[in-house]
Amino acid sequence: MREALVEVKQLKKYYPITGGIFGRTIGHVKAVDDVSFAIRKGEAFGLVGESGSGKSTTGRTILRLTDKTAGEVKYKGVDLHAVSKQELRRLRPSMQFIFQDPYSSLNPRLRVGDAIGEALMDHGLADKSEIRERVQEVLSLCGLAPYHIDRFPHEFSGGQRQRIGIARSIILQPEFIVADEPVSALDVSIQAQIINLFSDLQEKKELTYLFISHDLSVVEHLCTRIGVMYLGSLVEIAPRDELFARPLHPYTRALLSAVPIPDPRLKRERIVLRGDIPSPANPPKGCKFHTRCPLATDRCKEEVPVLRLADSDHQVACHLV
């Protein structure tokens, strides 16, 4: 087993809910509620979950794009939430974030070349004379043309903009990339292009990914280990093949069976979950999934299951396993 590049320990991120005349805090949205996992060097770790599962917030908190509430995030042994702003800035180029929305993640007033090259300049990683060349290099690496360098973002389609966003990160030669739903805003044919780009880049640059997505098929394609989140907690972590062949948590199973498969001949037995995802401001007691779980027992309503090793390298948080 390779060493861990990123270690997340009991990470919590609560957002206060204010109310009343004086804006007192009357509760918390527990977006990330006690999450621990490790990402090994060179792997692509997938984080899947539905809306409100806290997967995006986890990604953002790991890179300290937002402050944590509790817990720690160690990147190469350094606690990212404890270091000074200067130290964090020094570390930034080696860990990058790729955003979901290719439209709002690019500054509309910045030419592509400036958007990609400015961080190099700001960090003093390249001479002014080099930058243009480096930008063109990374543009072609990401499947864009060198002449795109002087254009503005609005001249590009969604897929191309996502390529620009990727190029902007890659030029800093990062080791670790958090990608937050990078393909969910794109059409299928474009989605495939971007997924392929991600796997090419990983091969060429020996990158480590944290890949956040609601789409299990995308995660299966790209990731080697997968964590499943539900309402701010991790319910299952396993290597890809293990997870898809032998899902242990009832939620994982339901999620897997809910994904429509483009084959009309395939008639599957589907586990249709009852009800809605509860609000993360007011999660159910005990196991958070018990309100929708087809197998829930009385114990599930009272006791919170902990994430434990069910098999070598396969962790699950369920009383019934």
Partner: protein
């Protein structure tokens, strides 16, 4: 477009087609369709040429007193007549326009500069900085602008500030009362912009603050700044005219449109010598209207929701 199938994506042309477009070109294209705004723009250009180039073609020096030709009505020699010191009104109108337009523009530039810098800083850093800047702005905004100007103007008159300096001081005064509103506007823009994903991207890229502020945030407020700044010029010209009319702004012999109207403050001048006050009055009126029309047109052209 018969491009060969390319392996790399995105070479086949972009969504907006072959035409290169930029914000300014698009804006101007939309503005051109707005006839009213274009009239304003054309009039302003003419006014500028009239004021800044016109005097070179005038046979009269603006301050030249001619005791023989006092208060003459318009004639072939003096197209707009002469005033009580026998000065050519047309020439003085041009000279006054220079001052009025310059004061308007300079006051606007200064207040936009102060307002946007303070607004960006307040909006980006929030907390204490924001509190100090915005409370100061609030205080300035609670005092009605004109009375404040009167007071400062009166003090200046007491101190006997040389007339040459007064026009700079008027500019300062006008920008002093102008910046709070702009700072507010910029700050509110920054507050919403800083939540956008591209600002989070700058954080993830580890960019320095000054880069985030002046390369990412400020350029995104430019469209709204331009609209407000344009309308501001009109306001500044009006305020300067009022001050000068009341003798608290720029004082004679330096001419401005405001103090030229002041020359007509006797009943006999008002009734019998309309050539003294109609030309400067019309100049103020038409210039301010043109600026407002242009400003409204710019607002429509720069607002992405107003696609027609």
């Amino acid at each position: 477009m018969s491009s060969i199938v390319t392996e790399t994506a995105g070479l086949a042309g972009t969504r907006t087609g072959a035409r290169r477009s930029s914000l300014w070109r698009d804006t101007f294209a939309k503005l051109k369709k707005n006839k009213v705004a274009m009239c304003g723009l054309v009039f302003l250009v003419i006014m500028f040429l009239f004021c800044f180039i016109g005097p070179f073609f005038s046979p009269y020096a603006s301050g030249k007193v001619n005791t023989v030709m006092i208060n003459k009505p318009p004639s072939m020699a003096h197209w707009l007549g002469t005033d009580n010191l026998g000065r050519d009104i047309l020439t003085r109108l041009m000279q006054a326009g220079r001052i009025s337009l310059t004061v308007g523009l300079a006051a606007m530039l200064l207040s936009v500069f102060i307002g946007s810098v303070l607004g960006v800083v307040a909006g980006y850093y929030r907390g204490v900085v924001d509190q100090i800047v915005m409370r100061f702005a609030d205080i300035l905004m609670t005092i009605p602008g004109l009375p404040l100007l009167f007071i400062i103007g009166a003090i200046l008159s007491e101190w006997k500030v040389p007339t040459d300096y007064r026009i700079y001081i008027v500019m300062l005064m006008l920008s002093l009362i102008g910046w709070p509103e702009l700072a507010r506007l910029v700050r509110s823009q920054i507050l919403s912009l800083r939540e956008r994903e591209f600002m989070q991207a700058t954080e993830s890229l580890g960019l320095r603050d000054h880069r985030k502020l002046f390369f990412h945030l400020l350029p995104n407020t430019i469209p709204i700044l331009i609209v407000v700044a344009t309308l501001r010029v009109g306001g500044a010209i009006l305020s300067e005219s009022v001050l000068s009319y009341l003798g608290l702004g720029v004082v004679p012999p330096t001419p401005t449109w405001g103090n030229m109207i002041d020359a007509a403050n006797t009943l006999i001048d008002f009734q019998k010598r309309p050539w003294l006050w109609i030309p400067p009055g019309f100049a103020i009126f038409a210039t301010v209207i043109s600026i407002n029309l242009l400003g409204d047109g710019l607002r429509d052209a720069l607002d992405p929701k107003m696609k027609r």
